[in-house]
């Protein structure tokens, strides 16, 4: 008799199931537009040239060992990672009120921030503080905050399905009417899954309400550099909020912009009011880290730290990032052009207006099912496609298939 005989089968995580189904599919022209990882024009994963270079350096360096990192992570990584988000000349950094926790990817950074907020924000252990995530959002946001103990994770209006753009009025409305001290998870750039970001003017409006109503700012930055190809541009919103004086968290991922997916490289940047507050915050972060993973993994952080701290390698990295961003932009332009040439009903401007890895096509669930079952093109039920799955070799097939889905399936 087993203690676990009553454990029910859990549903698989959708995006991984999609990839599994794709892998099992024998159709020669199959296309995977599911998981968010970069692919080359040959549909292959791409290890950044600068990463290969740095890995060689590491493996040949006999002075390096595998000792434990400090609880909060590799110092050179933490400081350079925060600088990437906030800017080298960030006044907050100069004022010694920026701290960082090296974490296991962007997920780990969100987790650490969530655990800290649950314990110390809005009174002690206030699990009823509402946490707002965009509608829609990355599917794991809900689980991260719920598992950290927050009982009230809610959507804020974001995507306007009809006009296929940002529902700013709805967003601002939720900011105005939400309970005091609510926490808002903001996508710094390249919103996942819609690819729709607020403009600078719109960010200013959002910031004004958040400041006035004293809401907590928690940025999720998983695509810096990857969205526009320019690091500074992609960090504009974060830096703007910092300049207004917000105390805030920013969860950073280096999975995509460094292609270091499986090494789990993330950073939780903490912007505090002053150095004293920061010191106490970091001491409590250590306690949370200690019972979750004790100290973070070394390899990925080393690669990023070495790269960011060498002017030559940093330059090379920026070039690699631009390569990826440019290919995505090209696929966007081509997909839109082909759909327009086919005369596919509807407007397709959103494909080039959206930014980053993902595009919310606007395909409905029935059309998505058609794409998967009849055309062996795998995308999320929401209609989200990963632009990196598109190549010059398959883009015609995909465009034609979308055309079919839209015209034949209602």
């Amino acid at each position: 008799m087993s203690v676990f005989s009553e454990v029910p089968q859990a549903a698989p995580v959708a995006v991984f199931k999609l990839t599994q189904d794709f892998t099992n599919d024998q159709f020669p022209k199959k296309v995977n537009l599911g998981v968010g990882a970069y692919r080359t024009d040959d549909s292959k994963p791409w290890v950044l040239p600068v990463v290969k270079k740095v890995e060689k350096v590491i493996v040949h360096d006999d002075t390096l060992n595998h000792e434990y990192l400090p609880i909060l992570g590799l110092p050179e990584f933490r400081s350079s990672a925060s600088k990437i988000a906030l800017g080298d000349d960030s006044p907050a950094i100069q004022e010694n009120r920026v701290g960082a926790v090296q974490c296991l990817g962007g997920t780990g950074a969100l987790k650490m921030g969530a655990e800290f907020l649950r314990r110390f924000y809005n009174g002690n252990n206030n699990t009823t503080t509402p946490v707002y995530v965009s509608a829609p959002t990355w599917e794991n946001h809900n689980a991260v905050f719920a598992n950290a103990g927050f009982e009230d994770v809610r959507p804020y209006k974001y995507w306007d399905a009809e006009k296929r753009g940002l529902d700013l009025a709805g967003f601002l409305g939720d900011l105005e009417s939400c309970p005091a001290h609510s926490i808002f998870v903001l996508h710094a750039c390249a919103h996942n899954p819609t690819g729709t970001d607020p403009t600078q003017e719109q960010w200013k409006q959002i910031a004004e309400v958040m400041m006035r109503r004293k809401l907590f700012v928690f940025f999720d930055s998983a695509y810096q550099g990857f969205a526009s190809g320019n690091l500074e541009k992609d960090a504009w919103a974060i830096r703007y909020f910092v300049s207004l004086g917000f105390e805030m968290f920013c969860a950073q991922s280096f999975s995509k912009n460094f292609g270091l997916y499986n090494e789990r490289v993330g950073n939780l940047t903490v912007v505090a009011r002053d150095a004293d507050n920061l010191k106490r915050i970091m001491s409590q972060m250590e306690k949370i880290v200690r019972t979750t993973w004790s100290n973070p993994p070394s390899q990925g952080a080393r690669i990023v730290a070495i790269t960011l701290n060498s002017p030559e390698l940093f330059s090379e990295w920026k070039g690699n990032v631009k390569t990826m961003a440019d290919r995505v932009l090209l696929m966007r332009a081509q997909l839109k052009a082909k759909l327009q040439a086919l005369g596919t009903p509807g407007t397709w401007d959103h494909i080039t207006e959206q930014i980053g890895m993902f595009s919310f096509t606007g395909l409905n669930p029935k059309q998505v099912e058609y794409m998967i079952k009849e055309k062996h093109i795998y995308l999320m039920a929401s209609g989200r496609i990963n632009m990196c799955g598109l190549t010059t070799k398959n883009i015609d097939y995909v465009a034609e298939s979308i055309h079919e889905a839209v015209t034949q399936v209602q």
């Binding site: 087993s2 974490c103 306690k287």
Partner: protein
């Protein structure tokens, strides 16, 4: 009150207290600041060679070279980790021919070293264990066990384990306490090289413990962080784990490769649940993934790849077994030399326990005031409970250590 109010207006975090320093890592901090050339760090449990330097195993360097040459991609691992690793990990613990592995009725997931494994285990128990919320730890246990299980939502109780009057195992006390543990409670057992005491049950004692635990219908959770490191023999060190499984206990098991492969900072570990049958194992696996995803999504590749390369490549595996044996032997030698040194100093105390205890740690029996003197007068750093890490002892400093211990205990 006005000051507090104005502080609260200024920062969200005005009420956050300074967290207490980690007692074990705090020892290292103090050690670093000491300028005495004869200082010794006997705090943290990381292996050191006879020159007092961190030791990167040759099998690790060789494995790294092999991996580097393969030029692998960096795609996300599955939530449960690298399949080759989890297979090797389970085989190492249970033995290749174990019926459990042959039948497929267990599930092993890759975790963030031992801490991550224990935390996932705690989370799993908290969510799915129908029995009492209590986890029974030996008294004393690794300091981090308590906060890990507490943060996972479990409660902690203890059973007698260490007998300070003999510096050995309180077998009678353990049996007495275990016989009173409510049915279906979770009991944590250190598989070998008990941390912090170095006191392990003998095989005949393990047999009695197993019988009693079975009678009480307790759920066994083994923590095995030192397989190979204790006696130098991986099979011998896993004997208790394998015996319990043979006796029908469907155990939970945490494994770490931090010490036995020197992969500390790469965070390599495994969590295993032995289930009733294959179907249950699949259901448990699905739920473990649901637990892991909102913490860090999927585990880091580098260390797991190194470990699985070593375990599955015959000549690397042999080399590893030799090197683990070497590390264990050096520790055993230092134990013998310390006792010889104490006798040479003229100590009249019985130091047999230093030789009888096993693994990285030694519970010297020193009282807190003696520890304080040892630190203040001799710059020998250790934890207040009298625990020393034998790994910090070398042939060059063992005489000095004996001298210091004798001085504070004569």
């Amino acid at each position: 009150v006005n000051l507090i109010c104005s502080l609260l207006l200024l920062s969200w975090w005005g009420g956050v207290q300074m967290g207490p320093p980690d007692p074990i890592l705090g020892v290292s901090e103090a050690f670093k600041k000491d300028s005495n050339p004869k200082k010794m760090n006997l705090g943290v449990g990381a292996y050191r060679d006879d020159q007092g330097k961190p030791f990167v195993l040759s099998c690790v360097r060789k494995a790294e070279a092999i991996i580097s040459a393969k030029q692998l991609d960096k795609e996300y691992l599955g939530i449960g980790g690298l399949a080759e690793f989890t297979k090797c990990c389970a085989q190492l613990a249970l033995g290749n021919d174990n019926e459990v592995l042959k039948s497929g009725r267990s599930i092993t997931v890759q975790t963030i070293s031992g801490t991550g494994s224990l935390r996932i285990g705690g989370n799993f128990l908290s969510r799915f264990h129908a029995g009492p919320r209590d986890v029974y730890l030996p008294k004393p246990s690794w300091g981090n066990h308590t906060p890990i299980f507490r943060d996972a939502g479990m409660q902690l109780k203890a059973y007698r384990y260490y007998d300070p009057s003999t510096c050995g195992f309180d077998f009678k006390g353990a049996l007495d306490d275990i016989s009173k543990i409510p049915e279906q409670s979770v009991i944590m057992l250190h598989a070998c090289a008990h941390n912090p005491t170095g006191v392990d049950p003998r095989p005949e004692q393990w047999k009695e413990i197993s019988d009693l635990v079975k009678k009480r219908n307790l759920l066994v959770f083994f923590d095995m962080a030192y397989q190979g490191f204790a006696s130098g023999d991986i099979d011998r060190d896993a004997w208790a784990v394998r015996y319990f499984i043979e006796q029908g206990h469907n155990i939970l098991l945490s494994q770490s490769f931090a010490k036995n492969m020197g992969l500390y900072g790469e965070r390599v570990g495994g969590f295993t649940v032995v289930c009733g049958d294959v179907d249950e194992a699949k259901r448990v696996e699905s739920q473990l993934k649901i637990l892991i995803r909102p913490i860090y999504s999927n585990p880091p590749m580098n260390g797991a790849r190194i470990a699985s390369t070593i375990l599955s490549t015959p000549d690397l595996r042999s080399l590893w077994l030799e090197e683990v044996h070497g590390m264990a032997n050096r520790i055993i030698k230092m134990r013998e030399q310390l006792v010889a040194g104490l006798q040479k100093e003229g100590s009249t105390h019985n130091w047999q326990h230093v030789i009888d205890q096993i693994g990285m740690f030694c519970f010297t029996g020193l009282k807190p005031d003696q520890v304080e003197r040892l630190t203040k007068e001799f710059s020998v750093y250790m934890t207040k409970d009298g625990r020393i890490s034998m790994a910090g002892v070398t042939s060059g400093n063992v005489g000095y250590l004996a001298h210091g211990i004798h001085a504070v205990t004569k």
